[in-house]
Each structure stands twice: as structure tokens, then as C-alpha cells.
Symmetry: C2
Subunit: 362 residues, 2 copies
């Protein structure tokens, strides 16, 4: 029987590279001749050491990280990081700058406020429902850090370039565009990303932290909420989410060895996005919701002439093997998430379907 | 080619039921005709709702939980619970009783102390390296809760019966014996268990909390550290560790439908433990390390006449398809973890090997 697979445009959990899934499946009952599943091996074993060390090494090579960066795996998703960041890095007598570009930035701000931290929202695109990335922001030179969300999964916007913050380290939530493009790491003090969009299944957050930030962490934090616990134990202080880290390792291997690294990945990602945006812009039937200079190449948000047509579009697309095109429940409309693992053929198939749907329904 | 599987005595991550692993493998590229892997489906989908609702319903049926209990899935392992418990449930002007029966109890105490909470260690078995469970403990009637570790994975001890605390709710870390036996839930206010021993892969902690405890949680906690966030969202406030929860669902289904529930499971577990302890006690070569009345039926810890023999024993056992028999790195010796998913044949094979090893080396 032929394998049944759809083109999966889900925003996250999202599509994973098929060769990765096939490798997991093939070895699932007997990982590397151990006679055990990867889900059954000890996190203190040589086998798992190789997994986590390889995942860290590949992340460092792909992002060209210097010796001053640590790659950590922490449970709880980006949502726990919203609290861990100010707990670890924002002392009581200091403040941090936050840029608000949508739902996730807003949540990051909310969690810092719950902790009664002094944060300053230096820019926001709330005035136009977060359809753009603010420009010409005046950052505070004495802020401890600048927090921003590099890609806004829900609103379909993305920072094309990261701002000059005059040396204040940027802390970026990159959950939905981590490892999709090259980065100038000199600007960043910390990057975090829930795995379930670009690098693996749900269940772990990758945190990349610069050494000097680790040194500023106050005493007295619970062990599991202190970045140093993870940095000093190679994320093995307690049992880590082994299967998720293993899958990340395989995705990073695919990214390095099959795709050919971040330059190649970025080129493919930009091609996929151009294919879709060019088609949307060529007619009147579909309408992109983000300002053109703020568009995301990971999450393409668009509307049809009516909500009825959107409902019909999503239903018929699903019947045609194009899944997950419904916009986030908070905004409606349509969204095609075209992360690293979405092949160009998937985007081409979507564009083809959109053409036919327009012809029948315009 | 015949499937290569060993008998896996790892303490955690640990053996999982083979039918569960086979079901995951078979559907790994196409979960329930969705054309997606279980690792790729949305946590907001009908498919995943069915997974998490079924997991919760089965846990409630297996433990015979009343309407007043909530079953939550929280990331970070039992180690994060060590901090979340006092953050949520121990107000500044009150105190809690803790019983110290080993490494994990000690860590639970340490995390409460980091948070500067008032805790009273009412009993400890540290005087004899935690080889027994304390008896005749004087609990404080005005304690907010009594914390204990129901099974001590490292030291091989287990509470045979839970103490009378005069109505003060027991909070129990059951990471290594959850769902291995029936419980009288009237005694418990909260039970928590890292999944990676008896119920699934690493990456989630099951928390069972009584409704009245939820009502005592103070305002001002970060969302991801507040039990109410999980209780009001069915553990779907943010993206949960979907694959881990899915595997738990399948393990609980196996426990209900194949094993036949907790009475049947407990009977099998006691038979397996008896097989091993009876053999150990019959001779002089092997020596159990826990007091007989405090022995665990999940983790059987034992020594050989010398460390050299232990090393040889573990190496030869591994060669014979009996893995994971090394004691915890902090205590040495040998340990056979015989959780729910370890079949009786595995224990019989171990006893058989132990006999032969003794004959050759005594």
C-alpha cells in the first residue's frame, strides 16, 4: 500500500522531514542494536550522550556559535521562558526593553509583569492589529536586555533585520523561525525556541545563552528554573525529554547533511515564500494580511473575500491533501506555515490549488 | 530477521510494553489516516483532544478517582514539582511535614528550602543510608501537607502502607511506582510522577491534584508554574509534549485492557518481586540492601560479595540480554528495576542467570 502523507501546513506541532520520521520508525523497537527503543534507553547511557552531544554540536555548527554560547534543552516551552528570562536575568533595580509584535510578545510581557519586574514597552504594532514590525525604535542604553519575537506565528510578521541596540543584548523568541536563516550572533544574548515548529516535536525548548549572561544570575532560584543548572550539566541535571532531543538531533543532521546548512535552507525558504506571496499579490482574490516589508517567510497569513469562502477553501484544501491552513483561532482567516521541513512541492501544490479555487469561486 | 530485544532493567527511562511500541511504530508516518505523524499533528486538533481526554479518563478509571481530582500533564519532571509544590501550596505563615527516605526526598526538601519555606523533617532514614521506611512517625496536625516519596528508586525501598496523618493531605512523589498498585485516594491531596518509569517516555510529569488544594493557590505565580493554568485548560494552555502524552495513553490502555487493571497489575508485580527476593534470600551470595519490611517491589537493590564480582555480573548479564542492572551511580551495587512493563519471563531469566553466575563464581 502506498504511504498516505499530506502536505501539512500546521503552525506547530508541524511537519517534520520525512527521512527523519522514517529513521525513527525503522529503529523504534531496537535503537542502534541496543535491543531497546530510543524511548527506553537511559539518559545516563553512552548512547544518549552521543545523541545530546551531537544535537548540541550540530546546533553550534549550524549557527556558527562561538565558545561563549551554551545550547540548553529545557522543558515547558517558550511559555516557561517568558517567566524564566526575567527571573534569571532582570534584577530588581534594573529594567528591560520589550517590543510588542503580537500574541507571544504580549504573553512574554505579561509574565514579566506577574513577577513585578520593571519592563518598558519601547515599541508596539498593536495599533494596527500587529500587522507590521515597528521601525526606528528608541532603545534604552541602560536596559539589561531587549526582548523581541523574531517571527510572529499568528500574525504572519517577521523581523527582516534585527535592530541596532547599541550593545544591549537582544533576547529573542525564535520559536517559529529558529534555524531558518543565518544570524549575526553578536547581537544576541539569548535565543529560545519551542521545538515544535522548525526543529522537532513538542516537548522541549532550545535555549542558546551567552556565557556572560549566565554569570549575572542571582542565587536563590529553584534548580529547575536556573539556567546554570542546565549549563553545568549539559541539560542532564534530571531526566531530559530524550525522544524529543533525539528527534531534534536527526532534524539538525538532515539540515546539515541533506539540505546543506543554513545558507541553503534560507534560500529554499525564501523561494517557497516568494512563490506563495507572488501568487497572492498577482490577483485580488487573496489578500495578504501583513505589511509587505514585515512579511514572514515562515507563516503566510491571508484572507479570502468572505469568511464563507475561507471556510470552503480550508475544507476543500483538506480534501485535496493540504492540511492545517486554518488561521489561528484568535484571528481567523487562512495561514500556510511553510517551515524548513515543508518541501517546495508542497507550496507549489498549494499555489496550484489556490488558482483552481479562485477560478471556481471568484 | 528476528526482532532483537533485551530484558531492560533500567531504572528510568525504562522498558515500555512491546505492544505499545509496536503500535507507535506501525502508525508513525500516518497517524489514524491523517497523513501525518503523531509528532506532527496540532495539539488543538480533534485527534489530539481524543488522545489527551482518553489518557485522563483512563488514569481516572484505573485509580478510581472521584470528580474532585484533576489529572494534569506538566513538563519539567518531578524535579520541577519539588519547587512547584511549595510555591503553590505552602503559604508563608504555614509549614509542611516532610519525610526523608532518600535522594529524591532530599531534593524535594532542598527545593522547598531554596524558596525559604517553613518545612519540618518529621522522620528520616538517613541514619542507615536510607535502607528502610521510618515507622511510628509523629506528624503535625497543623501541617499544610505531608510530603513523602512512595518508592525510592535508588535505595530500593517503598512504603508498604501509607501512614495515618490525621486528615492532613499526603503529597506523594510516585515517580517510580505510579499505577503499580491500588491506592486509597482519601489519604492524598496530590500525587505526582515523572512518566519515564511506569507510564511512558521521559518528558512529562503526571500530577493528580484534589480540587480543594487548587483553591488554596495564591495569586501572582507565573502561568506555567501555577497548577490552575493546567487544570482550567486540560493541560493545553500551551503546546504540551504531545508524543509523550500519546505514549502514556497507549500504556494506560494496555494496563486497562491487556493487563486488566491495577488489581491484576499489582498481583503480577508482587509475583515478580517475590521471585527475585526469594531467590536472593535463599542463599548467601546475593544480599538485598533494603530492610525486608521496607523492600520495593519496583526496584530490587542487591550486592554481590565484592565490587569486582558486581562488575563482572553486570557485564556478563548485559552479554546475556539482561540490561540496566547497574546500581545508581551514587550508591553502586546492582539494581533490577521491574516496573509494570517488565514481563515475568524477564525476571525469571534474571533469576536463572543469577543462579548460573553464582555457581560459577561462588
Amino acid at each position: 500500500m502506498a504511504l498516505h502523507r499530506i502536505f501539512n501546513f500546521n503552525a506547530g506541532p508541524a511537519v517534520l522531514p520525512l527521512p527523519v520520521l522514517e529513521e525513527i520508525q525503522a529503529s523504534f523497537l531496537d535503537y542502534r542494536s541496543s535491543g531497546m527503543s530510543i524511548t527506553e534507553i537511559s539518559h545516563r547511557s553512552k548512547l544518549f550522550d552521543e545523541v545530546i552531544n551531537d544535537a548540541v554540536a550540530r546546533a553550534k555548527r549550524l549557527l556558527n556559535l562561538g565558545e561563549d554560547f551554551h545550547v540548553l534543552f529545557i522543558q515547558g516551552g517558550a511559555s516557561l521562558q517568558f517567566a524564566m528570562l526575567p527571573m534569571n536575568l532582570l534584577p530588581k533595580d534594573r529594567f528591560a526593553d520589550y517590543v510588542n509584535t503580537g500574541t507571544w510578545s504580549t504573553k512574554a510581557i505579561k509574565e514579566a509583569e506577574i513577577l513585578k519586574k520593571d519592563i518598558r514597552v519601547v515599541a508596539s504594532s498593536k495599533d494596527r492589529d500587529f500587522c507590521y514590525i515597528p521601525k526606528n525604535i528608541s532603545f534604552n542604553r541602560d536596559a539589561v536586555y531587549v526582548h523581541l519575537t523574531s517571527n510572529n506565528t499568528i500574525k504572519g510578521t517577521q523581523w527582516a533585520n534585527f535592530p541596532d541596540t547599541a550593545g544591549v543584548p537582544i533576547i529573542a523568541d525564535m520559536s517559529s523561525d529558529i534555524l531558518s536563516r543565518r544570524l549575526d550572533m553578536k547581537k544576541f544574548g539569548l535565543i529560545y525556541a519551542g521545538a515544535q515548529k522548525n526543529i522537532g516535536p513538542a516537548g522541549v525548548c532550545m535555549v542558546i545563552i551567552r556565557d556572560d549572561l549566565l554569570k549575572q544570575i542571582p542565587e536563590g532560584l529553584p534548580s529547575m528554573l536556573d539556567y546554570r543548572t542546565y549549563a553545568t550539566s549539559n541539560s542532564l541535571y534530571n531526566t531530559p525529554p530524550c525522544f524529543t532531543i533525539y528527534t531534534i538531533q536527526l532534524v539538525l543532521k538532515w539540515l546539515e547533511e541533506t539540505v546543506g546548512g543554513l545558507d541553503a535552507m534560507e534560500k529554499i525558504n525564501r523561494q517557497k515564500a516568494r512563490l506563495l506571496y507572488d501568487f497572492i499579490d498577482a490577483g485580488e482574490f487573496y489578500r495578504g494580511t501583513a505589511d509587505k516589508d514585515s512579511r514572514s517567510f515562515m507563516n503566510v497569513t491571508f484572507r479570502l473575500p468572505s469568511e464563507e469562502l475561507e471556510k470552503k477553501f480550508i475544507a476543500e484544501a483538506t480534501e485535496n491533501g493540504l492540511g492545517g491552513l486554518k488561521g489561528h483561532r484568535s484571528v481567523g482567516g487562512c495561514r500556510a506555515s511553510i517551515y524548513n521541513a515543508m518541501p517546495t512541492e508542497g507550496v507549489a501544490a498549494l499555489v496550484d490549488f489556490m488558482k483552481h479555487f479562485e477560478q471556481k469561486n471568484a
